[in-house]
Symmetry: C3
Subunit: 488 residues, 3 copies
């Protein structure tokens, strides 16, 4: 099989150099050593994870260890962690010969990105100006996972077309851009976006799409043989889908306010997700001439309700409001997979392997605007006086903000995230076009063979068929020669 | 392959119409719109998930946000959620060509059913007579998941033999019946059944069996080629098994009393499950002439201990009592798979794809009676005076109940659940016999081809063999013609 | 295929008797009945899971049910539970034809071992001298799971080469030895080892290696055809890897101190794991001539950071200290897979199927020594006066211990665990050499066929190729005879 690939490559020109032996280890080592140094200079435990907690607790009249933020957030953190590594990871195993790359590079990007995220987010949000140190706790870990999610979404658009070193470049810039846009949106504009419709999904989606657009491969059809799923690869991908779907209420509620904030966010997300399953199934079935369902839609569009509730889920959107959001998002996302993606590929030359446009970019953007509308509609009668202040954090310099103004800022925040995604992605895309990154040739995409040592006995069918066809051909030749011998 | 199926169908009469293009989208849309309207009229956040919580907390002297029920129950909720979607879903992927249907329709049923469950259970348990509203919180989400479990169990008996629209009908009636029998058992009879041996497993099992009995297919042997597992489909099913097994302590303890109630339930369930693994392995090995283990038993009967502890786990059954329950259930369930299921299929014409009779119906029923016995044996010396009142909720109009009486009511509750399952299932079965639901023909069962768009390059062996045989035959013909040419 | 194996066996002498029909059920039944009797005599609920809790709570001025240890530890317990059954289980599915054995026997060992662990650990740690009873709660369940982990690690070294009865013997002695060494290390030497670098990983690793060394099979190359992975078996193994990786922070923090203890442990483990991913990738890529990654390293060495932080994670190792540990462990573990394991197999005759030497034995041992160094370096200025006492439990008879002394005892504890592993393993190995256990022949290892009823239609490629080659040969013979007919 290796031979066959190489000969195909030779046919279309010299094969690209995909040797990672120097660049990948170099990047990993340099990066990890830099992290150690920077962590040594900057990162310390916060008061809740430091051994001085026992004294801190007494001084602050905290009655019990259970008041430690760990117990409020750790279960949600673990759910988010599963979404990042198993959810995103297995969702990207759907390609027949790129499952190692899907789950493995996802693992690499996230482990690489979360360290940089702790630093970047720390500098912007948790730097103690006196000591010059960043202090971290369980909420920082959740935020670091969130920050990686943006880059993993971008990776979804590039799946199968980039080298591992390129994925690390995507993560490096992705995390950096994320921290900046998050600072602008959450701190400067004082938006609320606990589940990250804007800062995670909208940004990550457009970031990935912009990169992919710059990296357009006109001859990608040469890799067509690997561009599809097989029965069991789609089943592996369902593991990813289901973990994303089930744990999304934890994703959106992981860093919302203690008490009713986390509680309400989980309920709203749960309902929106249920609703988007039904409209996804409906649209998927309507499209096929015999009403058959398409795994691509079930794997992806069912999640759109969770994406779109990332901003509004902590507001009093009401349970039926959550159902309506899920209803619309299931339709919009499935519609995107059916019509928009092929259209974008044809007209805009946009190759989006996982369809992040339909699952993250658009639902994230709409989620930002839904959040703006729900925020603008907030009132003291619905939230209670204290509830309103609490939910939107109308305190300090923002004490005189009205819900209407807040809505405007939320909408502005969404635009910021789109701008950061598109501009940042375009720049990163150009950086990735330098011919030094070891990306695969157009005829060699979506193939684990390039970056992974594969087991010798392969199980997939195509090589078997090839082998047998080969034997049968040989056999035919024998028969034919046989035939000719006879005739002579 | 499509051609071959069709020709087979033609041989046995006109193929059934399995086109879902109108009915499935119609049901999904109508249902989801109805849900939005009903949620709009009825469903609101409860005081712990409403933005007024901050005021409610102060008024009720709740000292900390950690007292919000969210923190008592959310981790268990997420475990239950995983059991419903990954546990049940992947357990049903064991068939070689129905894995999409197993995990996909399970997903659809649950997302469809949980919305209806919030309404049905709300009307019976959480309707505020003054406002006319149902208020929901994390406990409602757990109950909604539980309610779906009944219908998913029923789906296990029907796996591969029904259309997606039929599964939705099963869920619609299943959730409705569940809410009514639950109201009778928990509210009117005042039974305790936190883990649902009676209301979930016993009801769900008999409900599914009754439907399957009415839908008997005399010619199901025509689908024999798809009725079995392959190596990797059994491994996917083990994902489901293990998640059910591991999280069952959360299932049984999710809605038990705060404090010792949840704690004790988890311990008892953990022990019963461990014990049933050993007796399942023992019996499975004893049955085979070389002592080999059967994956069907490992996948299913190991879970019977958890099913049977659904009622008694919150009582003071003692740790060794839990082990005894698991011991017996592993034996009974494996015995069921070995002898009872084949017997029922032969004599009662009962086709039970997943063997829910042995995993849910019988262990659930026995669990109900075990609960009755343990309740009847309760005493103040074991529970403490307050503990007894607390555990059995002997308060209000039930203040003068004795453990003995309670035991009688528990037993009566089990009978109610069986009756609801059998009668309800029979009625739903007759409804599903109308020739309008698009179910597959007898020769077309257990086949994802019917309701799913499958990847073109299939990986399973039979088509490969077929293809090769085809080539070899062709080749043989050439040789033979060759031979005849010679001879002439 | 069965036939082919049998004929191969005949070729190398009489096939071993692998019939489990008597021994496996006998062991399971006897054991489970013994457990029921012993639990009946010894095991009771502790005060937090007993129905008297409501009175206990009042008497001890516990203000809320949320103070029940259940709410501090249950989420971590469930994560540990997943690691034991899905993590270890699926990690061992990587062999192409031993996935059932990997996940199935792992399930059996753990369910068998955890009951014995509750007793053994109870006798040593939780026996009430007045009542003669052991009381159990959620922390006991976590410890029982931990105790099984030691035996599961040992099973990793033996994977594919032992019978199910032998695995139970390994677990029986493994749990017993574990409880004794744990008592010596934690109680007598007063070491801290919450995440078990010493008591779990170091002990379990050397225990398994010693057994494997005694059971050396000189003709194991006869099973070479099954000794490897296929594409999808490696993907199943990644499920195990990722769950171990994600939940390791819960593993290490599950039984550390409430409050800052659990919080800090989770952060440190999270960081060490992230760091070891990067160095694993770097080394794996450096080794291959085209820089390709090896799934064996990604599946295993990425976890070494978690293993090595089992002791030190609860100390104030600092975030960058955690990164450094992970950095080194990724390198050491990958290096082990590349060079040490082949060397040990060649020189020491050590057959270590899963490479537990590189993932558990060495990182566990080093983790013990790292813990010793970090403990010795502890100071009041870093921990605070109370924090130091609290973290190292310098109370009662250990009130006058200094950090320096503690470091010495920690190092001694590591040596104890190695000694127990090696000596205990050697003894168990000799016991397992008696020819009564039904282990497979040298030509029959790594094959599920021996102990599992497999589906008839196998999906793997080799039989297909065999079948086709057979047909093609037949065909060739026809052609050849054809040819000869002609010529005559």
């Amino acid at each position: 099989m290796g031979n066959c690939c190489e000969s195909a490559a030779n046919f279309f020109g010299p094969q690209k150099n995909t040797n990672m032996r120097v660049s990948l280890p170099a990047v990993c080592f340099v990066w990890q050593i830099a992290m150690i140094v920077l962590f040594g200079v900057f990162i310390r435990y916060d008061e809740e994870s430091d051994a001085h907690w026992i004294e801190y607790r007494r001084e602050n009249n905290i009655t019990s260890d259970i008041e430690n933020d760990f117990y409020f957030r750790y279960p949600s953190f673990q759910d988010v962690h599963v979404m990042i590594f198993v959810g995103f990871g297995f969702l990207m195993t759907f390609l027949k010969r790129y499952s190692y790359g899907g789950v493995g590079f996802n693992f690499l990007i996230a482990a690489f990105g979360l360290q940089w995220a702790l630093l970047m987010q720390g500098w912007f949000h948790a730097l103690n100006p006196e000591t010059g140190k960043i202090t971290i706790g369980v909420e920082s870990l959740i935020n670091a996972d969130f920050c990686c999610a943006g880059s993993l979404i971008a990776f979804g658009a590039l799946l199968g077309k980039v080298s591992p070193v390129q994925t690390l470049v995507v993560a490096l810039f992705g995390v950096t851009l994320f921290a900046v846009e998050e600072y602008i949106i959450l701190d400067l504009l004082h938006c609320r976006d606990a589940g990250g419709s804007m800062v995670i999904h909208c940004f990550g989606g457009y970031y990935g799409l912009a990169i992919s657009w710059v990296l357009y491969r006109p001859n990608l059809h040469l890799s067509k043989r690997h561009h599809g799923s097989i029965y069991h690869s789609d089943l592996f991908a369902m593991i990813g889908t289901l973990y994303l779907w089930m744990y999304w209420p934890s994703f959106n509620s992981a860093i919302t306010d203690h008490g009713d904030g986390q509680h309400r966010t989980a309920i709203n997300t749960y309902l929106a997700l249920a609703s988007s399953v039904l409209t996804t199934v409906a649209l998927s079935s309507m499209h096929q001439k015999r009403g058959k369902l398409d795994m691509v839609h079930i794997q992806n569009a069912t999640l759109a309700g969770g994406v779109a509730m990332g901003t509004a889920a902590e507001f009093m959107i009401t349970p039926y409001g959550a159902l309506i959001v899920g209803f619309c998002m299931g339709i919009i996302s499935t519609f995107g997979y059916l019509y928009i993606s092929p259209f974008l590929e044809k007209t805009l030359k946009l190759q989006d392997t996982c369809g992040v446009h339909n699952l993250h970019a658009v639902p994230g953007m709409l989620g930002g605007f839904i959040g703006a509308i729900v925020a603008a509609a907030a009132s003291e009668s619905v939230y209670g006086r204290e509830g309103l202040i609490n939910t939107f954090d109308f305190e300090g310099e923002f004490a005189d903000r009205t819900p209407g103004t807040q809505g405007g800022f939320q909408a502005a925040g969404t635009c910021v995230s789109i701008a950061f995604g598109l501009v940042g992605g375009a720049i990163v895309g150009f950086i990735l076009r330098f011919p030094i990154w070891g990306d695969p040739g157009d005829d060699n995409c979506f193939d684990d063979e390039v970056y992974w040592e594969l087991p010798e006995d392969e199980e997939t069918v195509p090589p078997v068929l090839e082998y047998n066809n080969h034997m049968i051909h040989k056999q035919q030749e024998i028969s034919e020669s046989n035939f000719s011998v006879e005739q002579s």
